[in-house]
């Protein structure tokens, strides 16, 4: 049986898939592959994305 910690962290994995793939399927402005392409081309970094995610989560859970 999964611990509460494991369950929550598994949820994060699903969230990333949603962020990169599932939410992008019907997004004309930010279609599937656009985030990966922007990172590869240096328009944005993983650090910037993670920092934004962290700030928003921190505001909501603390």
């Amino acid at each position: 049986m999964s611990t509460r910690r494991e369950t929550i962290l598994a949820n994060v994995s699903n969230l990333v898939a949603k962020f990169l793939y599932y939410d992008r399927k019907e997004d004309d402005d930010l279609p599937r592959g656009a985030i990966e392409e922007a990172v590869e081309q240096g328009e944005i970094t993983v650090d910037e994305i993670v920092a934004t995610f962290r700030d928003e989560v921190a505001k909501r859970v603390q």
Binding site: N11, L15, I44, I49, V50
Partner: protein, 140 residues
């Protein structure tokens, strides 16, 4: 109300002025996020469309495709970078609130309780987010 209209999720009128979503006052963004969940459930629309549907319904903001000033704001948005950061904020809101509404395994309040009890930390959550993101972007 149609959910198929093209509405730019980041171009909204607020007090008569066209404003990018992430530049709206915090309480307005919170209102948008709060309304989004119920409208999504009703219309099964994308988050961005649903948010604006909610705003229009409450007559607080109006979407503004084609409005005067729209092109200028879009030109200054630095897309896709800005839209990606907006999407990251939406992902965080999903994680903390919207997905909790119908998730029996991680219901509303469980994440906060787990952090308070020391089961995990904000750093653990962020590290997991980074790990999966890097794996799917860099490692592909």
């Amino acid at each position: 109300m149609s959910s198929t209209r093209h509405i730019d999720p980041l171009a909204l009128y607020y007090k008569g002025k066209l404003v990018a979503f992430d530049e709206l006052p915090e309480y307005v963004r919170r209102f948008v996020n709060t309304q989004r969940a119920s409208v999504e459930a009703r219309y099964n629309a994308s988050e961005s469309h649903a948010a604006v549907e909610a705003l229009e319904e409450h007559e607080v903001l109006a979407s503004a495709p084609g409005a005067a000033g729209y092109g200028e704001i879009r030109a200054n948005w630095n897309p896709p970078g800005r839209m990606i950061l907006a999407a990251a904020r939406h992902a965080a809101a999903d994680f903390c609130y919207f997905r909790r509404v119908q998730d029996p395994l991680v219901p509303e309040g469980l994440i906060e309780a787990a952090i308070q009890n020391g089961d995990l930390t904000l750093d653990d959550i962020v590290a997991a987010f980074r790990q999966h993101l890097e794996h799917l972007i860099v490692g592909r």
